[in-house]
């Protein structure tokens, strides 16, 4: 559990973060969202003390992090940044093994860990001998995630990890991260300026503006009960209804049994995708397939309003 209590940071007269308080439960995926200059990166960096707060307390598992040794604290926390920050003179294997080697694991254990992590982030085993410059941006970011997870930290801090990638790669990596989180169950703090990314991945969203916390709630709550006009506008404005629909899964609205003909939608797809298909096909009823590809039933236009 990560607790922030009255945390502020100022540079001279400029207050970058002001009186920030919120709690992230163990195993939660919390997105910190806001426009540029809202203090989201600063907030994140105060958690691994790359920046020291001017006031307030941050606790991890009940311990005030100001009282913990810097090195010990940081080795408990995985850290992923936008441009990867991989060490260009080290191979992928050496990069991933950074923290395990600092912790003096024996080499057999390190090699086994590297193998498992490359598998987790879906990079081939042969990748371990390559240097960062030989990888694509997406692959580098996968290595960055593997490196952050290497010593099995309780917490993962991610600062716009997919910000520099093209939309397709970003989408693929978001899905991978969601899958990794299913398996590994870390406490994740994820900074992004992309509200859709936050809505897709997070189970808690903190919305910041000018260093102040505007709202801290579940995606559902933020969409249905935005705390202010700014939050409403920031989250989606006119498209709010569609984003709400994107939060729901087809499977939750499935009518088992007979289904119309045509290409089925996946039952794990968001409802917004089903709506889009209905608009495209001019159909009020769509077939739905399960994970195995069999027809599981149907979904109707009327379900969009339920």
């Amino acid at each position: 559990m990560i607790e922030l209590e009255g945390v502020s940071r100022s540079y001279g007269d400029r207050r970058v973060v002001e009186d920030l308080s919120f709690t992230v439960e163990d195993g939660a995926f919390c997105a910190i969202v806001g426009p540029s200059g809202s203090g989201k990166s600063t907030s994140l960096r105060m958690i691994n003390r790359l920046i020291e707060p001017s006031a307030g307390t941050i606790r991890i598992a009940g311990e005030d992090i100001a009282t913990l040794g810097l090195t010990r604290l940081r080795r408990r926390i995985g850290y992923v940044i936008q441009s990867g920050g991989l060490f260009p003179h080290w191979t992928v294997e050496d990069n991933i093994a950074t923290v395990p080697r600092l912790l003096r694991w024996d080499e057999a254990r390190v090699a086994e860990r590297v193998r498992a992590l490359l598998e987790l982030v879906r990079l081939g085993h042969e990748t371990r001998r390559k240097y960062p410059h030989e990888l694509s941006g997406g692959q580098q970011q996968r290595v960055g995630v593997a490196r952050a997870l290497a010593a099995d930290p309780e917490i993962l801090l991610m600062d716009e990890p997919f910000g520099a990638l093209d939309p397709l790669t970003r989408q693929a990596l978001r899905a991978e991260l969601a899958r990794i989180q299913e398996d590994a169950r870390k406490t994740i703090l994820f900074v992004t300026h992309d509200i859709d990314e936050a809505l897709l991945l997070a189970d808690r969203i903190a919305i910041l503006r000018d260093g102040r916390l505007l709202q801290y709630a579940t995606p559902q709550e933020i969409l249905t009960r935005p705390a202010s006009a700014f939050v409403r506008e920031f989250v989606g404005g006119a498209a709010l209804g569609l984003k709400l629909l994107a939060q729901r899964r087809v499977r939750d609205h499935l009518h088992p049994g007979a289904a119309p003909a045509g290409e089925p939608v996946a039952q794990d797809a968001p409802m917004s995708e089903a709506l889009s298909e209905m608009v495209l096909r001019g159909a009020e009823l769509l077939p739905v397939r399960d994970a195995g590809g069999r027809i599981a039933g149907s979904v109707a236009l009327a379900d969009m309003l339920r």
Binding site: R74, I77, Y79, Q82, G85, L86, F87, L102, Y131, A148
Partner: protein, 274 residues
């Protein structure tokens, strides 16, 4: 493949250099024919091997001192707590290099006496600036995200310096050392004016005694020594930058340089782009 091997300059430079250091007496007929007035035709003081060994030792010791001072000061100047020292350290190093070595010798002899010691001092001061400048440029060129990632993962400042910053800056620092060493190989010769045993002895002796052939003999060995050393640095540079060349990209063969100034320009460019 074999064509590429012939382009390695060390393969022909090393034997050529060895010939001039060890086999100068064999050129006696050539010099006797070209300079009939000079007797004996070959410099007859210490052997060229002995001169070279003293010369090389002087350059090695003074370059090592420059290296310790230059890299040390460069590290201090790029630390968070050391930024205030940067201007003064650079100013001191600039004075060290712009002050002519001959003047350093003249000023140092009354204090240190004749011999190798004033020459050591002059060479050391002369070599600090390029090493300091390149250390600062190399360390400043380490990408900020790399440093931040290292810090975020819990590497201590000393670990970041040793494992990340210095290895990444090494090619640029090496370029600075290369300039310092090459310049000092040439400059060390003037040490013979204050009694240091160097390859400058035949040159100075030849100038004083109007024996041009001695000047040529000394100059050939000094020049070949500098070129050979530069080729060794080129090989070392490629080894340090090997990681960049792995995969599809390969280093073009045989791209060595006679003087170190090209390396210095390159170092500045690559150092400033980070």
């Amino acid at each position: 493949m074999s064509a590429r091997r012939y382009r390695d300059p060390l393969l022909w430079l090393a034997p050529l250099f060895a010939f001039f250091v060890l086999g100068m007496p064999a050129l006696r007929p050539v010099f006797a024919w070209a300079f009939p007035a000079v007797e004996p035709p070959i410099y007859a003081g210490d052997t060229f091997l002995a001169l070279w060994l003293f010369h090389a030792a002087l350059v090695a010791v003074s370059s090592f001192a420059s290296l310790v001072l230059g890299i040390g000061a460069g590290i201090i100047a790029t630390r968070r707590w050391g930024h205030e020292f940067r201007a003064i350290l650079e100013a001191l190093a600039t004075i060290g290099q712009t002050f002519p070595p001959v003047a350093v010798l003249a000023l140092a002899v009354p204090a240190l006496g004749y011999g190798a010691l004033p020459t050591f001092l002059a060479l050391t001061l002369y070599g600090v600036l390029p090493i300091l400048q390149n250390t600062i440029a190399g360390l400043a060129g380490v990408p900020e995200p790399v440093r931040e990632a290292a810090e975020g993962m819990g590497l201590t400042q000393a670990e970041i310096l040793a494992k990340v910053e210095l290895p990444l800056a090494a090619p640029v620092i090496l370029a600075g050392i290369r300039i310092a060493v090459i310049i000092n190989i040439g400059t060390a010769a003037i040490g013979s004016t204050v009694g240091a045993v160097t390859l400058g002895a035949p040159i100075i002796g030849g100038l004083v005694g109007d024996k041009t052939s001695y000047v040529i003999q000394g100059a050939i060995v000094v020049a070949l020594f500098a070129i050979l050393t530069d080729a060794c640095f080129e090989r070392l540079r490629r080894r340090l930058e090997r990681y960049k060349a792995s995969g599809a990209r390969r280093d073009p063969p045989g791209g060595w340089q006679v003087a170190g100034f090209g390396a210095r320009v390159r170092a500045k460019v690559s150092g400033g782009s980070g």
